[in-house]
Symmetry: C2
Subunit: 187 residues, 2 copies
C-alpha cells in the first residue's frame, strides 16, 4: 500500500553539470543538474528563466555541457550560488572553444560536450533547451577501451530532496543481461 | 589538452525507470533510463519509436514513471529485453491505478510518479515525451522527514558506455553550501 505525497519529482539523482555559454561576448557558467537524454545525440537542460545564461544560449544557439569531477565540487557549487549578472565567472576556469566557436568549455572538467541548440520548449518559468552534441572532448586519463569511463570521471550526482551531492557507487549488474534469467523462465 | 572523441553522449549516470502505460487496454512496462527533469513539476522521457509503449502513452495521454530498487534489477532489465508486442508484461508486477485512471503503476517499486503527457517533441527515431507529475506515491519505508530518501530507495543508475547498472554512492557535500567558501574569497 502506497502513500500519496503530493507531486514530488523523484527522478534523482541526476548528474551535476556546468553549462557554458557566451553572454554579451563573455564566457559564463551555471550549475545545472536538471538535465536529461533524448537520444544518443541529444540532451535537455531545464533552466529557470531567472538565470543570466538563457539569453546567451538563445543568442548564440550554442552551449557546452561540462561534467565536473568530485574535486571540482566547490567551484561547481559556487557557479550555482552567484549570478553572471553581478559576478564575472569568466576567469574561474581555463576556457577553450571548439568548432562552434561560441560555446565556452572548461579545461578543468574531464569531459565536455559542445552543443548546438536545436529547440527551446517554453514553460512558464523555465526554458527547456534541447541540444545536439556536435563534439565531445575529454582527458585521455578518463578513457578506457575508447569509451569514457565514468568511474574515472567521478561525476557529482545531485538529489534535490536533501540538497546532496553524491558519488557514483559501484557497478552491480549489466544491462541487457541480468534480466535474461527471467527470459529463460518464459520457456 | 583535450582529445576529441566524436559526438559521445556522456550525460550519465541517469536513473533507470520502469515506464508504465496502458497499451490496447492492458498495462505494459518498459525500461527507460534516457530521462530528465524540466522543472519541479515536469520530466522527460526519450523513447525510441520502435517501442510498443509509445502508442499507449499517446492514446491515453498518461503514463507512470516507477523507480525500481536494486533488488528489482532482474525484473527491470527484463522489461528492456522483451517487447510488449510479443510478451504480456501485465502480470509481472502488482499494478495499481491513481487519479488519472489509465497510468498503470507498480506496487513493488518504492516510488512512482503518475504523469499526464503535456507535450511530445518529435525526433526522427525518438519521441521526447514531456510529462507533468500529477501525483507521487511511495512506501512509508522510504520517507524521511516528509521527503523521499533516495538512499533508502536504492535506485538503479545506468551508464550506457559499459551497459552498467550502478548503485548510488555516498553523499559528500551539500549544494548551495560547499561553494560558499569561494564566495567569501570574493570579498
Amino acid at each position: 500500500m502506497k502513500t500519496e505525497i503530493g507531486c514530488k519529482n523523484c527522478l534523482y539523482p541526476l548528474p551535476t553539470t556546468l553549462v557554458g555559454a557566451n553572454v554579451k561576448g563573455k564566457p559564463n557558467f551555471i550549475t545545472i543538474a536538471h538535465v536529461g537524454i533524448v537520444n544518443p545525440q541529444a540532451i535537455t537542460l531545464g533552466v529557470n528563466k531567472i538565470h543570466y545564461t538563457n539569453a546567451g544560449i538563445k543568442e548564440n544557439g550554442t552551449f557546452s555541457v561540462n561534467i565536473p569531477s568530485e574535486n571540482l565540487v566547490k567551484e561547481t557549487d559556487y557557479c550555482g550560488l552567484v549570478s553572471g549578472k553581478t559576478i564575472d565567472k569568466s576567469k574561474l576556469f581555463k576556457v577553450f572553444y571548439g568548432k562552434l566557436e561560441t560555446a565556452p568549455m572548461i579545461e578543468e572538467c574531464p569531459v565536455t560536450m559542445e552543443c548546438k541548440l536545436i529547440k527551446t520548449v517554453d514553460f512558464p518559468n523555465h526554458d527547456l533547451f534541447i541540444g545536439e552534441v556536435v563534439a565531445t572532448y575529454c582527458d585521455e586519463s578518463v578513457v578506457k577501451d575508447g569509451e569514457v569511463d565514468m568511474d574515472k570521471v567521478q561525476p557529482i550526482l545531485f538529489i534535490m530532496h536533501d540538497h546532496g551531492y553524491y558519488k557514483l557507487g559501484t557497478q552491480f549488474a549489466k544491462a541487457w543481461s541480468v534480466g535474461k534469467e527471467l527470459k529463460e523462465d518464459e520457456k
